[in-house]
C-alpha cells in the first residue's frame, strides 16, 4: 500500500479504535502493523500524525504485532526510526522510546537473545544516566525529558522482568545523589531495589555488594541478565497484596544481610525517603508501598526510617498517601505504630471518611478501609469486615447512614451501623432512648416507605431490599431487629405487591431467622384478602414461594376464590404453581377437591391437564415420593421464570436426568472361548441403583453395534456377577467403547450418566482354534503356518523376557492358544482373530533375556498390532 494521507490515517485509526477485533478481521487488518512502521519514516506525514500512530502502538501492540518475532521486528524498526531522526527537536523521540519498550515488553520479546533488547537497554540506561549520546540524540533541550522517559521505560521493563536492573543499583544510587531527575530515578531505584531483595532472598543469596558496586555496563558490553533470569519465574507484585495475609509469600525474612549490607541498604532507603517530598503525592505513595515491602521482615531493618514521614502524610487529604500509610501500618504494625499512633490514624481515617471537602468515592473507600483496618491486635476473625476496637459509637457518630445518602453510601454506612448494633447488644438492654438500634429501625422504615411508592424507580425498591438483606446478614440473632423488620416488610408488600420478585429473591437468600417469620407474615398478608385484585399474579407468585403445610385451609380458600379470576394462561399457571407448592408441602385434604375443580373448570386445556396430572400424582404417590417428584430439577436449579421452573420440576418426574457417574466399570480377566470374543465387565456402585441399563458404542465402527447389558439391581458392597459383553469385530483391532448408564435412583428419579470409556485391547479379541486332531498337533500347526503365505505376512522379532522366563510368560498370556509345546524352550501358538484372521507364533530357543519369535499372519494389518503386543508382554507381567 502506498503512502497514506493524514485524513486516511485518521479514518483508519478511528475505524480500528471503534472495534479493534472487527478491524483486524477485516481486509486492512493484516497490513496495519507494517504500514504503521513504514509511515513513521514517511516524510509526508506530520509529526502529530506520527505521534497518533505511535499512540496506537502503545495501546494495541498485541493486535499489531501478534507474536514475539513480530514484536521484535517492530521494536527494531522503531529503534531504527529513532536513530534516523535528524538532530533537531522532535516530538517523536519520547513516544518512540515508549513504543519500542511497549513492543518488547508486551510482545514477550524482551530477553538476552533479542537483538532489539540488546540495543534498547544500553540506550535507555545511557539516556537515564544523562550521558551524552552524541549528535544523533537530539538537542540538549530534549535531554532532560528524555532522561525521565528513559527511567520510566526502564521501570516498566523491570516491572515486567524483575531483576533486569539488579546490576545497576549502585549506578542508580549515584545518579540520584547527583543531578538526575528525582522522581523517575527514585521510583526506578526503589523498584529495582525491592525486586533485587526478593530475588536474592529466594535464592538465599546476600546483596553481594550490589548496592555499592556497579558502574555503567560498558557501552556495547553485554547486559547482565543473571538476576532477571532468576526473577523471571516469579513476576513480583510491585506492591504487596495485603502484607499480613501472605507473610510467607514474600519470603524476605530469610534474607539476612551482613552488617555492612544492612548499613548500605538503610542508607539507600533513607536517601529515597529524604527526597520523597520532591515527588508528586501519587509517586510518594508508590515509593512508600515499594519500600514498605522491601523492608518488611528484613532483619536489622527497623521501620523507624518511615517515622519522620508519617506526621506529614497523616495531615493530607490525599487518598494515595493515606492508603500508603495504611499499607505501612499493615506491614509493620506495632513496630511502626504505637497504640497512640494507631488511635490517631484511626481518627484521621474516620475524619477522612466523612470530611465534607472530599468526594463521595473517597468517603466510601475510607469507610471500606475503616472496616478492614489493620489493627495492631485484631480480635475478630480475619477476612471479615469488622469495626476496629477503637472505633466506638462516639467516633462513628458522623458515619451513620441517612436517607439522604446515595445507595452505595447508604449501604456502606448501614453496614457500619449494623456492626455497632451487633456490638451494642448488651448495653442496649439497659434501655436508652436513641440507641443505634432504634435509629436502624427508623432508617429501614424510611427506606420501605420510599420503596412503597407506586411508580417509583426500581432502584429505590432494590435499595430497600439490599438494606434489609444486609441487616439480616449482620443481626440475624437479634429478634428486636428482625421482628419489626418482618412486619415492616409485610406492610410493604401490602402497599406494593408489584415488588413480589424482590420478596421472592429476598426469601431465597436469607436464612430461617428472617425467612420463616417473613414467609408466615406474607402468607397471611396474601390470604387475608381474597378476591379479584390487580395484584393477583403477584399474590400467586408470593404464595408459590411461601405456601407450606401451615394453615392450608386459608390458602386453599384464597386459591378457590382466585381461580374464578384466573382467566389467562399465565395466571392459571401461577395458580397451579401454588398448588404444586402445596403438593410438595404434603397438603392433601382440600387440595384434591381444588385440583379436581380446576381440572374441570379452567378455561385453558393446558391448565386443565396440569391440574389433572397434579391430582393424579396426589392420589397415587405417597408423600416423600411426591416431594421428590415435584422437587427442584437437578438439571436446571436456578431459573427465574416460574413457568419454566414449573416445567423443569415436571421434567424431574417425566424425563431422564443427567447425573454424575455413580458406578465404576472395568474389564475383568479374559475368557478365551466360544465363537466370539466376550468382555467380562466388573461393576462397582457407590449407591443403590435399580433397573440399570448399560449402553455401549464403539468408536470408529470397528465392531458391529453392541447390545445393551441389563442388571435389575446393584448395591454398594455387594459383589455382582461379571457382566458379559460379546464383541463382533469387523476388523481385528483394539478399540474404545463409550459407555452410558441409565438407571433409577432410590428416590425414584431416572438418571443417565456418562461413564469413562472402556478400552478393548488387542489381546481381548484372541480366540483359540478349534481343537486339533489328537496326535497331529504339529501337522495342524504347520498347515496353518503354511496357509498364511503368500497373501499374508511374515515377521521375526525379539520378545524380551522378564525374570520368570518363557514358560511363565506363555502360561500367563498365551496358554489357551498353545498348539504344540516343548516346555520350557519351544511353543507354537495359533490365535484366531475374528472375524477371519489368524496369527501364528513360533517361540523357540529362548535365551536368558528374551526369545526370538517367528510370526505369520494372513492379515497384513495385524502385523504391527502383534508386534506391539509381543514387545509389551514382558512389561505386562
Amino acid at each position: 500500500m502506498g503512502p497514506l494521507s493524514r485524513e486516511t490515517w485518521a479514518q483508519r485509526l478511528g475505524a480500528f479504535r471503534a472495534s479493534p477485533s472487527a478491524f483486524m478481521a477485516g481486509p486492512e487488518g493484516e497490513d496495519l502493523g507494517r504500514d504503521l512502521l513504514n509511515e513513521l519514516r514517511s516524510e509526508k506525514l506530520s509529526e502529530q500524525t506520527k505521534v497518533s500512530l505511535l499512540a496506537l502502538s502503545l495501546e494495541y501492540p498485541a493486535q499489531l504485532w501478534p507474536d514475539a518475532a513480530a514484536a521484535e521486528a517492530a521494536a527494531t524498526s522503531l529503534l531504527d526510526t529513532l536513530v534516523l531522526l535528524p538532530p533537531r527537536p522532535s516530538a517523536l523521540r519520547r513516544p518512540l522510546l515508549l513504543a519500542a519498550t511497549t513492543a518488547l515488553a508486551a510482545g514477550n520479546a524482551l530477553g538476552p537473545t533479542s537483538g532489539a533488547s540488546r540495543r534498547l537497554l544500553p540506550l535507555l540506561l545511557g539516556l537515564a544516566s544523562g550521558r551524552d549520546l552524541g549528535r544523533g540524540f537530539g538537542p540538549a533541550s530534549e535531554q532532560r525529558p528524555l532522561q525521565a522517559t528513559a527511567c520510566e521505560c526502564l521501570r516498566e521493563l523491570e516491572s515486567c522482568k524483575p531483576g533486569l536492573l539488579g546490576g545497576c543499583l549502585g549506578l542508580l544510587r549515584s545518579l540520584l545523589g547527583q543531578e538526575g531527575p528525582v522522581q523517575p530515578l527514585s521510583l526506578l531505584l526503589a523498584l529495582a531495589l525491592r525486586n533485587t531483595l526478593v530475588i536474592q532472598a529466594r535464592a538465599r543469596a546476600g546483596l553481594q555488594g550490589l548496592l555499592v558496586a556497579g558502574d555503567m555496563p560498558a557501552a556495547g558490553g553485554p547486559w547482565n541478565w543473571t538476576l532477571a533470569e532468576e526473577g523471571d519465574a516469579n513476576l513480583q507484585p510491585q506492591a504487596p497484596s495485603w502484607p499480613a495475609a501472605e507473610e510467607e509469600e514474600c519470603g524476605l525474612a530469610v534474607l539476612e544481610p551482613s552488617p555492612e549490607e544492612a548499613r548500605e541498604l538503610r542508607a539507600a532507603v533513607a536517601q529515597l525517603l529524604d527526597t520523597s517530598y520532591l515527588l508528586t503525592p501519587v509517586a510518594q505513595a508508590q515509593l512508600l508501598w515499594l519500600l514498605g515491602w522491601a523492608l518488611r521482615g528484613l532483619r536489622g531493618q527497623p521501620p523507624v526510617l518511615f517515622k519522620p514521614q508519617l506526621v506529614r502524610l497523616l495531615g493530607t487529604a490525599q487518598l494515595t498517601l493515606l492508603h500508603a500509610v495504611l499499607a505501612l501500618k499493615a506491614a509493620f504494625g506495632e513496630a511502626l505504630f504505637t497504640a497512640q499512633d494507631e488511635a490517631l490514624l484511626l481518627r484521621r481515617l474516620t475524619l477522612a471518611a466523612q470530611h465534607p471537602a472530599l468526594p463521595l468515592p473517597a468517603h466510601l473507600f475510607y469507610l471500606h478501609c475503616l472496616l478492614n483496618f489493620p489493627e495492631n491486635w485484631p480480635l475478630g476473625p480475619t477476612g471479615e469486615e469488622t469495626a476496629p476496637l477503637l472505633l466506638g459509637p462516639r467516633l462513628c457518630r458522623g458515619l451513620l447512614p441517612s436517607l439522604l445518602h446515595d445507595p452505595s453510601a447508604l449501604l456502606a454506612h448501614l453496614h457500619l451501623l449494623c456492626l455497632l448494633c451487633a456490638e451494642d447488644e448488651e448495653k442496649e438492654e439497659k434501655g436508652q432512648d436513641w440507641c443505634p438500634r432504634h435509629y436502624l429501625g427508623e432508617l429501614l422504615a424510611g427506606l420501605r416507605q420510599r420503596a412503597a411508592l407506586h411508580g417509583g424507580p426500581r432502584a429505590l425498591a432494590t435499595l430497600c431490599f439490599q438494606a434489609s438483606y444486609l441487616v439480616v446478614h449482620c443481626l440475624a440473632t437479634q429478634p428486636t431487629v428482625l421482628t419489626p423488620l418482618t412486619h415492616g416488610l409485610a406492610r410493604l408488600y401490602r402497599a406494593r405487591p408489584a415488588l413480589a420478585p424482590h420478596f421472592v429473591d429476598l426469601l431465597d437468600r436469607v436464612g430461617p431467622e428472617l425467612g420463616e417469620p417473613l414467609r408466615t407474615a406474607l402468607r397471611q398478608e396474601v390470604v387475608s384478602r381474597p378476591g379479584r385484585d390487580e395484584a393477583l399474579r403477584w399474590h400467586l407468585q408470593i404464595l408459590s414461594k411461601v405456601a407450606d403445610g401451615k394453615a392450608p385451609s386459608a390458602t386453599l380458600g384464597f386459591l378457590r376464590a382466585a381461580a374464578a379470576h384466573c382467566t389467562d394462561w399465565g395466571l392459571q399457571q401461577a395458580l397451579l404453581q401454588v398448588c404444586r407448592a402445596l403438593l410438595r408441602a404434603g397438603v392433601g385434604e382440600g387440595l384434591a377437591d381444588l385440583l379436581q375443580a380446576l381440572a374441570r373448570h379452567l378455561e385453558d386445556p393446558d391448565g386443565r391437564d396440569h391440574a389433572r396430572l397434579y391430582y393424579i400424582l396426589l392420589a397415587h404417590l405417597a408423600g416423600p415420593k411426591l416431594g421428590v417428584a415435584l422437587g427442584p430439577s437437578l438439571a436446571a436449579p436456578a431459573l427465574t421464570s416460574s413457568l419454566v421452573a414449573e416445567n423443569q420440576g415436571f421434567a424431574a418426574v417425566l424425563m431422564v436426568q443427567e447425573a454424575p457417574a455413580p458406578m465404576r466399570l472395568s474389564v475383568g480377566p479374559r475368557r478365551a472361548a466360544g465363537p466370539v470374543p466376550v468382555l467380562q465387565l466388573q461393576v462397582e456402585v457407590l449407591e443403590p441403583l435399580y433397573s440399570v441399563e448399560l449402553r455401549f458404542r464403539v468408536e470408529g465402527q470397528l465392531y458391529a453395534p453392541l447390545g445393551a447389558v441389563h442388571v435389575p439391581c446393584l448395591l454398594p458392597g455387594r459383589p455382582c456377577r461379571p457382566l458379559h459383553l460379546p464383541l463382533q469385530p469387523r476388523r481385528p483391532a483394539p478399540a474404545q467403547l463409550a459407555v452410558r448408564a441409565l438407571f433409577a435412583t432410590p428416590a425414584g428419579l431416572t438418571c443417565h450418566a456418562h461413564l469413562p470409556p472402556l478400552p478393548v485391547n488387542f489381546a481381548d479379541l484372541f480366540l483359540p482354534f478349534p481343537r486339533a486332531p489328537d496326535g497331529d498337533k504339529q501337522g495342524f500347526f504347520e498347515e496353518l503356518w503354511d496357509s498364511c503365505l503368500p497373501e499374508g505376512a511374515e515377521s521375526r522379532l525379539w520378545c524380551p523376557l522378564g525374570p520368570q522366563g518363557l514358560e511363565a510368560l506363555v502360561a500367563r498370556h498365551l496358554d489357551p492358544f498353545v498348539v504344540v509345546a516343548q516346555p520350557p524352550t519351544s511353543y507354537h501358538v495359533a490365535i484366531r482373530l475374528p472375524p477371519a484372521s489368524r496369527l501364528l507364533l513360533r517361540l523357540e530357543a529362548a535365551q536368558g533375556d528374551g526369545v526370538p519369535v517367528a510370526l505369520r499372519t494372513d492379515d497384513w494389518a495385524v502385523l504391527p498390532l502383534a508386534g506391539d503386543y509381543l514387545r509389551g508382554l514382558s512389561a505386562a507381567v
Binding site: 511497549t102 501519587v282 492508603h323
Partner: protein
C-alpha cells in the same frame, strides 16, 4: 501499582446506547502482568462497546429498569464502594473503579497483583487509590474553568497527550494533569537540580501571594421538638504563590478573633512540610470544650506554581447564620405555605445575594399562587414547580422576614417531572442560597503581616474571604423529614 485501562464515558439518557465512550486508553504491558498475576481468574479488558454496555447496566444508567433483573436487583448484590464487577465476555471484570459526575462517567481498572478468586479486600490493592487519584485528576482537569461543550471537547482532545506524560505506562506519575500540560509547554527549560516533580518550572516576575478563604455553611433545620437542627461550616483556603526561586518557603497563619469558632478536621495539601500536633488532632469527633485549640494555625509549605488548596477545615459555629421555619400543609390540589427567616445579629448583613428556593416535587406544574411577603419579591417558575423568594442584599432592621401563601398545582405529567425520592407527600424543603463577601462565619482570617515568605523580594500579599451557603435546607415542620443520626443524638444530649 498500575492501571490496566481508563475510560471517559458521557452519559446520554434517552439515546439508544445511553452513553458514548469519549476517551479510552489501554496499557498492554500492565495487561500482560495482569494475565500472570490473576492466573485463572484473569478477565481481559473488553473493547469499548461491550464495556460501555456492561458499565451502564451495572450503574443503572440504562433506561430499562422496568423489570426485576437478578444480576442487578438481587438483594445480595450489594455495592458499598465505587468499585464494581462487570459481566463481560462470560467473565466478571473486577475491580472497575467508576463514578458519575456532571454526566461524565469516569472509570478505570487497576492491576491487582494476585489472584482475584477469592476477591482480595480493596484496601489490599495498591492500585485502587491510584485509580481514584487518576480519575479525580482527570475530573479536575476537565472541569477546571470549563464553561461549555467546546471547551470540554478541547480538553478531551488534549487527554491522550497528557496521559502520555502523566501516565505513560499505566503507572500514574502525577494526578495533576494541568501540571503535565505545563511540563509539555515547559519542555525547553533547563531544570536545576532538586526540582520537585510537582513543580515543572519556576516563576519569573513580581512576587505576590494571594490567599482566599471560602467558607461554606450547610444546615438542616426542622423546627421540631424532638429533632435538633444541625449546621456546619466547611472552609477551604486557596493560595496562589507567584514567587521566584525553586523552592521558596512560605508560612501562612490562620487566626481567629477572640470569640471565633475553632477550626477542626484540618486536611492539608501535600506541599505542607510540617504540622503542629494540635492541628492534626483537632477534630469534630470530640466534644467541644473551652480548651479546644483556637490557633493561630500555622502552615509552612513550599508552594507549587499553580493555585492550590492549602487546607480544608470544618467548624461548629454556635448558631446558624439564618434560622428559619417552613410550614407546608396539603389541601387537595393546593398547598398552604408559611416561611419565616431570621438573620442572626452577629452575621454581617450585607449579602452579594440571598434567595430562598422553594421547590414542589412530584406534583404538577404550578397553576396559581397567592402570596404575601414581608420583604423581597417572589418569582414563580410554573413549569418547574418552583418558587424563588429573592431577598436581596440586606435583611430589614428587624432581621426577620416572612412569606405566606397558597400554591395550586395542575395535573402531574410523568414524562416531564423527574421523580424525587425524598420529597414525597408532605416532606418538603426550602433551600437557601446566599453569599457574603469579605466575611467568614468562624471569623477565620489570614493576617497579611503573619505571612512569612523566605524568597527574594518582598511579595505583595492579598487576602480574600467569603461565605457561601451550600446544602442549606429548612424542612417542612408539618411532615416527616429525613434526619441524620446527629440530629437525634444532639436532642438527647440537650435533654
Amino acid at each position: 501499582m498500575a492501571q490496566r485501562a481508563v475510560w471517559l464515558i458521557s452519559h446520554e439518557p434517552g439515546t439508544p446506547l445511553c452513553g458514548t465512550v469519549r476517551f479510552s486508553r489501554r496499557y498492554p504491558t500492565v495487561e500482560k502482568r495482569a494475565r500472570v498475576f490473576n492466573g485463572t481468574s484473569y478477565v481481559p479488558i473488553p473493547e469499548d462497546g461491550p464495556f460501555l454496555k456492561a458499565l451502564l447496566f451495572e450503574l443503572r444508567l440504562l433506561d430499562d429498569d422496568k423489570d426485576f433483573v437478578e444480576s442487578r436487583d438481587s438483594c445480595s448484590h450489594i455495592n458499598k464502594t465505587s468499585v464494581y464487577g462487570l459481566l463481560v465476555g462470560g467473565g466478571e471484570l473486577w475491580p472497575v473503579v467508576a463514578f458519575l459526575k456532571n454526566n461524565m462517567i469516569y472509570a478505570c481498572v487497576p492491576l491487582v497483583e494476585q489472584t482475584l478468586s477469592p476477591r482480595p479486600p480493596l484496601i489490599s490493592i495498591s492500585g485502587i487509590s491510584q485509580s481514584f487519584e487518576l480519575l479525580f485528576g482527570i475530573q479536575d482537569f476537565l472541569h477546571l474553568g470549563q464553561k461549555n461543550d467546546t471547551e470540554l471537547n478541547t480538553k478531551l482532545n488534549q487527554l491522550p497527550d497528557l496521559l502520555l506524560q502523566a501516565c505513560p505506562f499505566g503507572t500514574l506519575l502525577d494526578a495533576n494533569l494541568q501540571n503535565s500540560l505545563d511540563s509539555i509547554n515547559f519542555a525547553s527549560v533547563t531544570h536545576p537540580q532538586k526540582q520537585p516533580a510537582w513543580k515543572v518550572g519556576t516563576y519569573k516576575g513580581k512576587p505576590q501571594v494571594s490567599i482566599s478563604i471560602t467558607e461554606k455553611v450547610k444546615s438542616m433545620q426542622y423546627d421540631k421538638q424532638d429533632i435538633a437542627d444541625t449546621w456546619q461550616v466547611v472552609g477551604a483556603v486557596t493560595c496562589k504563590c507567584d514567587l521566584e526561586g525553586i523552592m521558596p518557603n512560605v508560612t501562612i497563619s490562620l487566626s481567629l478573633p477572640t470569640n471565633g469558632s475553632p477550626l477542626q478536621d484540618i486536611l492539608v495539601h501535600p506541599c505542607v512540610t510540617s504540622l503542629d500536633s494540635a492541628i492534626l488532632t483537632s477534630s469534630s469527633i470530640d466534644a467541644m470544650d473551652d480548651s479546644a485549640f483556637s490557633g493561630p494555625y500555622k502552615f509552612p509549605f513550599t508552594p507549587p506554581l499553580e493555585s492550590f488548596n492549602l487546607c480544608y477545615y470544618t467548624s461548629q459555629v454556635p448558631v446558624p447564620p439564618i434560622l428559619g421555619f417552613y410550614q407546608m400543609k396539603e389541601e387537595e390540589i393546593q398547598v398552604k405555605i408559611t416561611v419565616n427567616l431570621k438573620l442572626h445579629e452577629s452575621v454581617k448583613n450585607n449579602f452579594e445575594f440571598c434567595e430562598a428556593r422553594i421547590p414542589f416535587y412530584n406534583r404538577g406544574p404550578i397553576t396559581h399562587v397567592e402570596y404575601k411577603v414581608s420583604f423581597g419579591q417572589l418569582e414563580v417558575f410554573r413549569e418547574k414547580s418552583l418558587l424563588i423568594w429573592i431577598i436581596g442584599q440586606k435583611f430589614p432592621k428587624s432581621m426577620e422576614i416572612s412569606l405566606s401563601g397558597t400554591v395550586t398545582f395542575g395535573a402531574k405529567s410523568h414524562e416531564k417531572q423527574p421523580f424525587d425520592e425524598i420529597c414525597i407527600g408532605g416532606t418538603a424543603y426550602l433551600k437557601l442560597h446566599f453569599k457574603i463577601l469579605d466575611y467568614t462565619l468562624t471569623g477565620c482570617y489570614a493576617d497579611q503581616h503573619s505571612v512569612q515568605v523566605f524568597a527574594s523580594g518582598k511579595p505583595k500579599i492579598s487576602t480574600h474571604r467569603k461565605l457561601i451557603s451550600s446544602d442549606y435546607y429548612i424542612w417542612n415542620s408539618k411532615a416527616p423529614a429525613p434526619i441524620t443520626y446527629g440530629s437525634l443524638l444532639l436532642v438527647r444530649c440537650h435533654n
